[in-house]
Point group: C2
Chain length 293, copies 2
């Protein structure tokens, strides 16, 4: 079984767009005609059962955010499991957007549970190296070849509160970026990239080149396009000369691009994903490029 990073690079080099579609189910944004009267969890799974084959035409990856499943309790959690399984059935890689982070022994429990469902996970950095170590262990080829994306520079306004605090003349997030590079240094790379990626908000385009240079061997997961206001055209600095090194995320702009009473919602998703893929493929191959070779 090839590693997450190897599969991702292979797909993008083969021409797939460097994108990931965020799956953030909201009941009021589901098609009204979809299993009306069924439980939230059943409606969510049915939505993805229909949408995932369409997404698989355009994207190498999906990123279910578990918050929007957990809020429906145990049934919602099972819907998350089923959504991950369905995505895999359609050949999609799964980035579990779980943003976990706890002390080592607890992190081991999170890693065990969540890597059973997803190929890669998002992680909080605040607890430091031992909180990330159990996830890094699972990135080794002999332990599953998983991937992680550590929160470095988040897309929200509150990112400024702590991530901008100045430490030794540079913002805290730069220190976290250096740690991410260090954590990845011992792990095998695929096409120049380690399994230890970073979340870098697309909402801070003027910071992209700097963070790209601090994270030369990390895939950057770039959220914030669409509802949060970031523009695909501002993201060229995240990619290397081969169009590798970054995955642009869009959630609402693709998965909520239709009115709930629309009957052609699958066609709408298809068209929105196609447009997003085309835009991101173009920006990934635009100069100037930075990052890993």
């Amino acid at each position: 079984m090839r590693s997450f990073t190897a599969q991702l690079a292979e797909r993008v080099l083969a021409g797939q767009a460097p994108i990931v579609i965020g799956l953030d189910p909201r009941l009021d944004a589901l098609p009204k005609g979809l299993l009306p009267g069924a439980t939230p969890a059943l409606r969510i799974v049915e939505f993805y059962r229909r949408a995932l084959p369409v997404l698989a035409r355009h994207a190498p990856c999906v990123k279910p955010n578990i918050a929007f499943f957990e809020c429906f309790g145990g049934d919602g959690y099972r819907a998350y499991e089923q959504t991950c399984a369905l995505a895999h059935q359609h050949g999609l890689l799964v980035v579990g957007d779980v943003k976990r982070g706890d002390i080592g022994s607890t992190a081991a429990a999170y890693a065990e549970g969540h890597f059973a469902l997803a190929d890669a996970l998002t992680l909080h950095p605040y607890l430091g190296a031992d909180s990330v170590a159990p996830f890094l262990a699972a990135c080794r080829p002999e332990h599953g070849g998983r991937g992680v994306f550590v929160l470095v520079r988040t897309s929200n306004p509150g990112a400024r509160d702590f991530q901008d605090l100045e430490v030794d003349g540079e913002p805290l997030c730069d220190h976290v970026a250096r740690a991410v590079t260090a954590w990845g240094a011992e792990l095998p790379r695929a096409e120049g990239y380690s399994p230890v990626g970073a979340v870098v908000g697309a909402t801070w385009p003027h910071e992209l080149a700097r963070l790209r240079s601090l994270l030369p061997h990390s895939w950057l997961l770039l959220p914030g396009v669409g509802a949060q206001g970031a523009k695909v055209e501002d993201l060229a600095a995240a990619f290397d000369a081969r169009g590798l090194g970054a995955l642009v995320n869009q959630s609402r702009g693709v998965m909520q691009c239709f009115e709930p009473d629309a009957t052609d919602w699958l066609e709408c998703i298809d068209a929105a994903a196609a447009t997003f893929a085309t835009e991101c493929r173009a920006v990934a191959h635009r100069q100037p490029h930075q990052g890993s070779k």
Copy 2:
């Protein structure tokens, strides 16, 4: 319905020990005679069904760590829900140790889901104010009177990696502590304490007085006693003159204090919880005291 903070203060003032028992279920540490052959989730719930009435004699609160439930998937998540419900049936307050943290819209989904189960939650600070805001909204009396404990200084060795980075002459965790105090400033206090608490590792006893002074109106949740090496006797600085202001956590030292093949495991838990309660009650009333009045 009285707020989490008001109920907590009331119970400790009435003589309950300032403790919280961590519920971190591990299959290899459950009593072997407990539903042998049943699913992990059923065994876990049965363990707590038997243990919670015993814990309720000694502690005002329990703190289930969801990582150890989630690792059993959807069934495990349901076991977490059932454990929270059982704790409430026995009159215990529930601190959901979920350590969530995400952008505002996602944080709202987490808050909705998790405050339906627990009275208070642990949170990551890295994403800043807007990531915490939906949880703070639920702390208002008219929205449920919930509580939060923001990770300030964690108990693990990796706490040093980022929390010690120097910002304006003081460690990052002190800046997070000041933010916690600011986030709580607009919310109503009970016995001097806001609903916005802080996690401060008991493993750093020499830092307690400093963090106590930076967090004058926060309940401190102190993990790290027992398996992680911290000593109850070193924690006096966390309490005010009334014995309020801190909750000492112990997980493994109480809930895994027996050999798996023991038949008197409930008696062992009873005794361990009683001893822990006595120790913490004593240290909470020892001078010198600092903190809120």
